[in-house]
Point group: C2
Chain length 85, copies 2
Amino acid sequence: MKPFRVSVHIVPRKGLLDPQGKAVADALHTLGFASVAEVHVGRHLVIETQAGDAKAAEASVREMCGRLLANPVTEDFEIAGVVPA
Amino acid sequence: MKPFRVSVHIVPRKGLLDPQGKAVADALHTLGFASVAEVHVGRHLVIETQAGDAKAAEASVREMCGRLLANPVTEDFEIAGVVPA
C-alpha cells in the first residue's frame, strides 16, 4: 500500500441552476470585470489515501464520490488527478 | 477579444485548520474507507471571460481572486488551467 493524493472536482450538473456562480458573476460585474460571461462554482477535494496502485486509488475515490462526496441528483464529479503523495 | 475558460482552485492555506476536510475524512472512515489519511476541501471555480490572449485571461482572473474570490488571510489560490472556450 502506498500513499496517493487524488484530486476531485465536483460541479453542479450542466443545465441546472447555479445560483452561487450567478452571484459571483454579478459581483465581478459590479467590481468592473465586465468581460466575465459566466462563473461556475464547485468543490475541489484533495483526498490522501493508501492504495496498491494509482488505479486502485482512483477507483476507491470514485466510490467515495458515489456514496458521500457528490450529490448524484444535482452534481457531477471528475477525478482531476492521481499522484503519489 | 476571444472567450477563455479559466479554472481556479481555492484551498485553505496550509497549516490552517480545515474543519470541513476533517469532517469529510471522519465520515469516510465511518463508511468504511479506513485507508483515507486526510481530506482537504476547497472551491473549484470556472470563469468564462473574454480576453485578448490566454495570458491576459489568466492575469484578469488572478486579479479577481485577489479582490473577491479568495480570502487573502485564510486561503491560497492557483490557476489550474486556461483554455479557449
